[in-house]
């Protein structure tokens, strides 16, 4: 059964076409990631699904209810953890959770017990009766998640749950989320621009770029869809743009991109491509500091699809290297 069905959603804000026909399906009980750069339309998609805003066209169902036609039924079935914390800073953690529970229609003993359970689960039991103003960023974020869970929703939306957290708080948030996903029989829709986060948490994911899903599948499927290997060359000096065009022109290289002093390329076989990459660079007098090769990571998948999307739009037609993803 599908917990979330999204079909051809379009939404325009003024001159910006935020969604250009987003579509995907999330099965009940699964953790689904929407991965994409800032401004790709991830948050807008979640806002439509959480009934905060209406799409211009298209159709979406959450827990079997239409987000436009039956918004209150959807609201009862979901928990929404917005991108920026929505906690009441002048209230305590317990007061925040209790109020949220009440407006979701939970009350009395059941609510008290649930609030205690969540405070314990999220490691906030000791800080429960302190005013939120004094919480750390990680604690505030965990309370946000608690607010989304207080009424035992069927579907939880997590919009960039770890943005702005330090690496330690992020890692502990991932642990919490993994435990929640197992313990609470939840469907989770997660948006993120951290590849690692999607890789670690999501059962399946969709890469979103410019208001559209460009590819969807399990992290493994997506990595496999990029056949071959990734070669990363660290340049001795800064001529990355030159190096990129030289390497991209080589027959063995599927695609190349550069960032700072790093030149990334995707090749069929590292052993065969590396010598020609190095000699091509040497011929033009570009020094090389280090070369590494690895199996494609989600990073490569992301760059491949979002990069190609941009290139395709910029060059009207673009290039094709023969590899494709499934689930389009």
């Amino acid at each position: 059964m599908d917990a979330i069905v999204v079909d051809e959603l379009r939404k325009r804000y003024g001159a910006v076409q935020a969604l250009q026909g987003v579509g995907f399906r999330v099965r009940a009980g699964e953790v689904f990631g929407l991965l994409g750069p800032n401004g790709a339309g991830k948050s807008t998609t979640v806002k439509v699904l959480a009934t905060l805003t209406k799409p211009d066209s298209g159709h979406a169902e959450v827990a079997g209810c239409d987000v436009v036609g039956e918004p209150n039924a959807v609201r009862r079935a979901i928990g929404y953890v917005p991108q920026s914390s929505g906690v009441d800073r002048d209230a305590t953690g317990r007061e925040n959770l209790t109020l949220q529970g009440r407006i979701q229609g939970v009350g009395g003993r059941a609510l008290e017990a649930r609030v205690d359970e969540l405070l314990e689960l999220l490691g906030l039991a000791e800080a429960a009766d302190r005013v939120v103003r004094g919480y750390s960023g990680g604690m505030k974020r965990r309370l946000d998640v608690g607010l989304g869970l207080v009424h035992r929703p069927q579907v939880l939306f997590l919009d960039e749950p770890t943005t702005g957290l330090d690496p330690e708080a992020r890692a502990s948030m991932w642990d919490e989320l993994e435990r929640l996903a197992e313990g609470e029989a939840l469907t989770i829709l997660l948006t993120t621009h951290y590849m690692e986060e999607a890789d670690q948490l999501a059962d399946r994911l969709a890469i979103v770029s410019r208001g559209r899903v460009v590819v969807a599948g399990t992290p493994e499927e997506l990595k496999r869809s990029l056949r071959g290997e990734a070669v990363e060359v660290e340049l001795a000096d800064g001529r990355a743009a030159d190096a990129e065009s030289i390497v991209a022109a080589l027959e063995e290289v599927h695609e190349a991109s550069s960032e700072g002093r790093k030149l990334r390329s995707r090749v069929a076989s590292g052993a065969r491509a590396i010598p020609s990459i190095l000699s091509a660079l040497e011929a033009k007098g570009i020094g090389v500091e280090a070369v590494t090769t690895h199996r494609p990571s989600l990073d490569d998948v992301y760059l491949h699809y979002t990069g190609r999307e941009f290139a395709a739009e910029d060059e009207a037609g673009g290039r094709d290297d023969g590899s494709g993803g499934d689930g389009r």
């Binding site: 806002k47 959480a50 009934t51 905060l52 805003t53 209150n72 609201r75 009862r76 979901i78 929404y80 917005p82 920026s84 914390s85 929505g86 906690v87 009441d88 800073r89 002048d90 209230a91 007061e95 109020l99 949220q100 009440r102 407006i103 979701q104 229609g105 005013v131 607010l147």
Partner: protein, 260 residues
């Protein structure tokens, strides 16, 4: 409807609890009315002897006290939208909007909270006035009328303030607008001086000034010869205005929702 009332109650509870955590605010907010009552009241105490009169009492503080309750309630109301802006800035509202919470309760609770605080402050101002020798001629009923006028005065302008807050969504703009509305309406009323003492055009303007409606209703029950018809009329006018501004605030809330 019952859901809206329950949710309003939850939301008012949230705000009052947060306020009670820093009760110093209620005291700080009372500094201004006390200055008017204690300093201004003494400074101009002989104003009641002006030829032409119209004060209805020889004690200026008796004339002034009920109007200060209304003034305090009015100024409190013009600022009440700041709490809405704070909720907008801190993204508390979007979080509530993803729940089945009654939409109207999010607006109405702000108005109810504001009016409740005005009533609490009104009681304190009246108690202080009592120790200064002010007696409310109509007794307990008079107290109730003064506090009702304060509550209605507050909700009338709190509705307006919430609506403006939802339209401008910026603190600095909100402060400018509150000042722009507040001072002229205050000086175009009979708060400080008998209406018979002011220029003719101001007397006309005061008739249409809601602040003056509240002052008239509150003052009538303090002084001798209470004109109950006038009290009822002015309270009814304030009630009508409260309904209208609450509707305006609700409409601006819908407009805000469309911008998310």
């Amino acid at each position: 409807m019952t859901l809206a009332v329950r949710h309003t109650w939850f939301m008012v509870g949230r705000q009052l609890r947060n306020l009670m955590r820093e009760p110093i605010w209620i005291a700080l907010l009372l500094v201004q009315p006390m200055v008017w009552l204690l300093l201004y009241g003494q400074l101009f105490k002989r104003v009641t002897q002006l030829p032409g009169g119209g004060f209805g009492t020889t004690s200026y503080i008796t004339f002034l006290a009920p109007a200060i309750v209304i003034m305090n309630s009015f100024f409190g109301a013009t600022w009440s939208g700041m709490a809405m802006i704070s909720d907008l800035d801190r993204d508390v509202l979007p979080r509530f909007l993803a729940t089945p919470v009654s939409r109207i309760s999010l607006v109405v609770s702000q108005i109810v909270r504001s009016a409740l605080i005005a009533v609490i402050q009104g009681v304190i101002i009246l108690l202080v006035s009592l120790t200064l020798g002010v007696s409310v001629h109509t007794g307990l009923l008079g107290w109730i009328v003064i506090l009702a006028a304060a509550a209605l005065m507050n909700s009338a302008f709190a509705g307006l303030s919430q609506g403006i807050a939802l339209l401008v969504r910026k603190e600095a703009t909100m402060i400018a607008i509150a000042n722009f509305i507040g001072l002229p309406l205050f000086f175009l009323s009979s708060t400080l001086i008998s209406i018979r003492q002011v220029p003719h055009w101001m007397q006309i303007a005061a008739k249409f000034n809601p602040v003056n409606w509240g002052v008239i209703a509150a003052r009538e029950v303090v002084l001798r010869g209470t004109h109950w018809g006038s009290v009822g009329l002015h309270l009814a006018l304030l009630f009508g205005l409260s309904v209208a501004t609450a509707a305006f605030a609700t409409w601006t809330f819908r407009a805000y929702q469309r911008t998310i």
